[in-house]
Assembly symmetry: C2
Homo-oligomer: 309 residues x 2
Amino acid sequence: MFFEGSEKKIEVIVAPQVGSLRELGIDFWQSIVASANAEILSSISNDECDAYLLSESSLFVWKDRFLMLTCGTTTLADAVMLFIDKIGADLIAFASYQRKNEYQSHLQTSSFEQDLHVIRERISGPAFRIGHLDSHHHYIFMTDKPHTTIQGDHTSELLMYHIQGEAADYLRSSNQSAEGVRRILELDEMLPNFRFDDFLFEPFGYSINGINGDKYMTIHITPQEASSYVSFETNLDLAHYPVDIIARLLAILNPGSWDVIGFNSPRSTQGYPEHLCLGSCALETKQGYSLDFSHYQQMCHEVLIPESI
Amino acid sequence: MFFEGSEKKIEVIVAPQVGSLRELGIDFWQSIVASANAEILSSISNDECDAYLLSESSLFVWKDRFLMLTCGTTTLADAVMLFIDKIGADLIAFASYQRKNEYQSHLQTSSFEQDLHVIRERISGPAFRIGHLDSHHHYIFMTDKPHTTIQGDHTSELLMYHIQGEAADYLRSSNQSAEGVRRILELDEMLPNFRFDDFLFEPFGYSINGINGDKYMTIHITPQEASSYVSFETNLDLAHYPVDIIARLLAILNPGSWDVIGFNSPRSTQGYPEHLCLGSCALETKQGYSLDFSHYQQMCHEVLIPESI
């Protein structure tokens, strides 16, 4: 029962002429989500943002931008194309498209290179792979139009592989509840002013969106033993946040390895478990985004259990 | 210009009634090799063994067994099926089929699971994956017939990723020669009684077979910077060999990470560069094979260079 937890991600900022993306309405966003082979499960809203919980991950819509994450074998590149066709490529101020290393890339319906080929038929821009193909790596495409990043535009992503220990056991148990997952992840303590929307999948898996003003957070959990994966992402400025959320999540979920990807988000390893940083990369984009990728490995030797096929 | 260096491997031992596999003749073996989408480039022979250098790796044929390694996008499972159909499944005393993690598994024409499905239509046996999907891992299928391993049946495989330094630079240079590669790998010193057959591919890549009595060695080099890979394999009893070949090759090729796979070959890390053993596994088979898999990582932090796509 394999499920690809690793997300594809698209972030788009539109020109002011488009008006508010939030006013495009639920039918518009439903069609975008459907084109990626996902569906909207529920949503929460505040003055700044609509946060949709999807059958496979999340969609956040602000006035001038949206962010969509999808996992499994979803076809997010199709959603990118549909959005561009509906809005018009000229009105896209900035777009980025990301994929991470997948557990079973051969089960995906397309490769990053194939997605790139399709996307570049509409919008141009550089693309990179960061990290070796036989290890954790990250693909990113960004548009090359002139665009000035907004002050305070930070994003941090924490991707955790092979979670172990009490929390991991709970997430794999049959008697879990959404409240129980929120409690075990200490979300109310760490993010006290956030409004949450979460969903527990059958038989396993958990997704949560949280919003507070224009700030968002999202966590997606694929707990299955052989290919466990948990992602956390936020636009909070973690360098100036009172709680060290990344270190706290690492302590709770105890992953064998993890990646941290930051956009305008300075790297810090304070509070991390003892680790080896296998590789890291800093990349400055033309638009002023500073991208950091680091791949960490717990400093321990693992006795591997042969998995019967 | 991507080339998948990682090999698929089949080893088959036949029942005595088959007679000598060496007497099946070149046409027979050419058809087996062709069914995997490879071809025979050259060969060497001695009293015990015929060693064929292939367009994509190697074939060794003894009286009662053969071993075939193929890389790239070859279809080795098809060769397995053709051999079984020609000889008859009842006369297969033992067979194993292996695949390693590939750099770009989505470019392969089949997955291990798909190969397994086809192979199991003819012969039954257990199969395992050792190692996590997001890291180095190894797939192996073995027949489950009763079969007693021969005394002295050792195999050692060394798989090296991301080679660096002087030898790596030479292997990527345009002025290399087969003699130069043999010299840089110190093969004459390490294997003084072996007869060699080697081939330098255009523009890069090198393969060598060596035989000495019933002992073989083979090295395949895919030196391209972004996905460099070097494999060494032998049935020498390395635990009782005067030169520490694995440690010597690691010192020469300086890989960022490497796997050692041993069949009835005790694990030793003497002389290895400073490393973290990320994971290891010992597996005992019903037939008495003891399989060891270990994944090693150099103890250093790598500054990753974004690769433009």
